[in-house]
């Protein structure tokens, strides 16, 4: 049985590597589909001022005159040596930009996940404690709204209300890093994390509710109730622990949506994270940044999914055994 488990883990790893290779191919192909090439696209109308000779030497400089497979593998090779390219607009290496932006987004994602779990799981427990009752109805309506209101709308409404009634702008002022100035950093991160977390609460709540309802009718629950386990202990140790697996999976899956949502929320709250980096790259047609940053985000997503899989096995020994 153990051999099988290890075997399936190896398989997952190989699959993840292959997927990442496919991701790299797709990202590369998408950015080659731009009308014209990266030089004319980046310079826009200014490129008309270049002489054919200048254009050719630029193409030669950036290696754009080489065959596509050569370009692809030299890009991939560069990435393995830590060279993610160079931003023409920011005048900085994409690696340096990513090193400062990525931790911010990861912090935001973790905070948002905490918010999502703190809202979603208790709501689900309330909802599942008396299915189809009034509390269930209210929780379900909150869940539906969290699912249906786009994060940018919540963020815009929140910003409007705060600036109107509290005369305070959460994203005014220089961004402070967590370790440099934790107090101000958490203040700045609070609203983005709340907005992202609220959206995350809906899928967590729905999954948790189904899972809790399923476990609550299990035989061991009746036994535990019968032998007089304290209600709180019953709910946490018996019910929640056994219902945890789908919740973990859903939280892991949602991490991808969180990274997508981070693009929107970071833009609105001026958080200099990885979402901001890729969005600014797209708006400024800084394709070196876009190409490498998209790859970084997708890699992160694949890794988190892999991690979710491992976590799953740690929490539930039944998965390891089967």
């Amino acid at each position: 049985m153990r051999r099988f488990a290890r075997h399936s883990l190896t398989r997952r790893l190989v699959e993840a590597v292959l997927t990442l290779f496919g991701v790299a191919v797709l990202v590369f192909a998408m950015l080659r589909a731009i009308p014209g090439d990266q030089i004319t696209a980046t310079l826009g109308t200014e490129s008309a001022a270049l002489s054919p000779d200048q254009l050719a030497s630029l193409r030669d400089y950036y290696g754009l005159d080489k065959p596509l497979p050569v370009q692809f593998f030299s890009w991939l090779g560069d990435i393995f040596t830590g060279n993610l390219g160079y931003s023409q607009r920011a005048g900085e290496s994409v690696l340096a930009m990513t090193e400062s932006a990525l931790p911010i987004t990861i912090e935001l994602a973790i905070l948002a996940t905490i918010v999502g779990l703190v809202i979603g799981v208790p709501l689900a427990m309330l909802s599942a404690s008396r299915p189809n009752g009034a509390r269930d109805g209210v929780s379900q309506v909150i869940g539906l709204l969290a699912l249906s209101i786009p994060n940018f709308l919540i963020a815009a409404t929140l910003l409007t209300l705060i600036s109107k009634y509290a005369h305070y702008n959460p994203n005014a002022g220089e961004f402070q890093h967590l370790f440099a100035n934790p107090g101000v950093n958490l203040q700045q991160m609070m609203f983005p994390a709340l907005v992202l977390g609220f959206g995350l609460a809906a899928p967590i709540m729905r999954t948790a509710r189904t899972s809790l309802l399923e476990v609550s009718t299990a035989d061991f629950m009746r036994t535990a109730r019968g032998k007089g386990v304290a209600p709180m202990r019953l709910r946490v140790r018996h019910l929640l622990h056994n219902a945890l697996n789908p919740i973990i999976t859903m939280t892991g899956i949602q991490f991808g949506y969180l990274l997508g949502g981070a693009i929107v929320v970071e833009q609105i709250f001026s958080v200099p994270g990885i979402g901001q980096q890729v969005l600014v790259g797209m708006q400024q047609k800084d394709y070196a940044v876009v190409q490498s940053t998209v790859l970084v985000i997708a890699t992160l997503f694949v890794l988190v999914n892999l991690l979710t899989d491992f976590l799953y096995r740690v929490v539930d020994p039944r998965v390891r055994a089967s």
Partner: protein, 298 residues
């Protein structure tokens, strides 16, 4: 389904489509289904008005002297910073959003379902490549993939629809493949194979009708995601180019003015929420109504 060789169809667990009228009745009897249907109908009426040009004002016409006016008899939902009528712009935004979402979901539904059916029905030769592509597309956060596609394409509503459509292809592959896999081993499909029906006919007349319920529900839910994605793209400035009204870009513009002119934010915001809540409720209602376990004789 008049083919004589399919007597077992009614007992298939995956669910043959129930009689349509019964499903409709079940849908409208559940509160979720009823509210969802009403909301979606409202949105459809608004979109049709906009597409037919039946808006009180031209959605892009500017009336600078009436900039940022509150709701009144003249401008039902007020005006924006250029004095454009917000009611007309909201209707036009709904129309645009509906057009993009419907085309996107039609694309992903057709491509994804075909790929899913083939991956489920045929052996490894088809399954391998289809699942590889699906895995790669699933490795992107949906919004990021849509954004990247939107940046690399020449932007107009059709390419935005294409970008969103590609993002949701893998979901249709995933939801259709499993049921087809189990359908393939059912007696009536085996029987159809044994009597020598051509594969194309088996797929079209026996497999597809049996997964239509799943696809219908998925289409509804995907529409709600497509609406949200389209709005997010245009909010980020990478959707349909201005001045074409879009709900997302209206929210973006309103961000600056909303603390003094709440209607600029409220109108497009409420429209998006009605749209998405309606589609979500309709999807939930359809799932219950089309579920064969809910007794097709009721």
């Amino acid at each position: 389904m008049t083919t004589a060789v399919t007597p077992a169809e009614t007992t298939v667990a995956v669910g043959a489509p129930p009689a349509t009228t019964a499903a409709w009745r079940r849908l409208l009897r559940s509160p979720a289904g009823l509210i969802g249907t009403v909301l979606v109908a409202l949105i459809l009426i608004g979109a049709i008005c906009a597409i037919a040009g039946l808006t009180p004002y031209d959605p892009v016409a500017q009336h600078p002297r009436d900039a940022l006016q509150g709701p009144s008899g003249r401008y039902w939902l007020g005006t924006d910073q250029f004095g454009r009528d917000i009611f007309s712009r909201t209707l036009a935004g709904i129309g645009n959003s509906l057009r993009v979402s419907v085309v996107a979901v039609a694309l992903s539904g057709v491509v994804g379902t075909l790929a899913g059916v083939c991956a489920g029905y045929f052996g490894n030769k088809v399954r391998g490549p289809v699942l590889a592509v699906t895995n790669v597309l699933f490795a992107f956060p949906p919004l990021l993939l849509a954004l990247t596609l939107a940046t690399t394409l020449t932007r107009n509503w059709a390419t935005i629809a294409l970008a969103i459509g590609i993002v949701y292809v893998p979901i249709f592959v995933r939801v259709t493949r499993g049921p087809v896999l189990s359908l393939r081993e059912t007696d009536f499909i085996r029987a159809a194979r044994v009597v020598g029906l051509p594969t194309r006919r088996i797929l079209a007349r026996h497999i597809l009708p049996n997964i239509s319920a799943i696809v219908t529900v998925q289409v509804t839910l995907s529409l709600s995601w497509a609406v949200l994605t389209e709005a997010s793209l245009s909010f980020l400035g990478l959707g349909s180019p201005p001045p074409a009204p879009s709900l997302g870009s209206m929210v973006f513009d309103a961000k600056v003015f909303a603390s003094t002119a709440w209607w600029t934010l409220a109108a497009p915001g409420v429209a998006i929420v009605i749209f998405v809540v309606g589609l979500n409720l309709l999807g939930d209602g359809l799932r219950d109504a089309l579920d064969p376990r809910n007794g097709r004789n009721s």
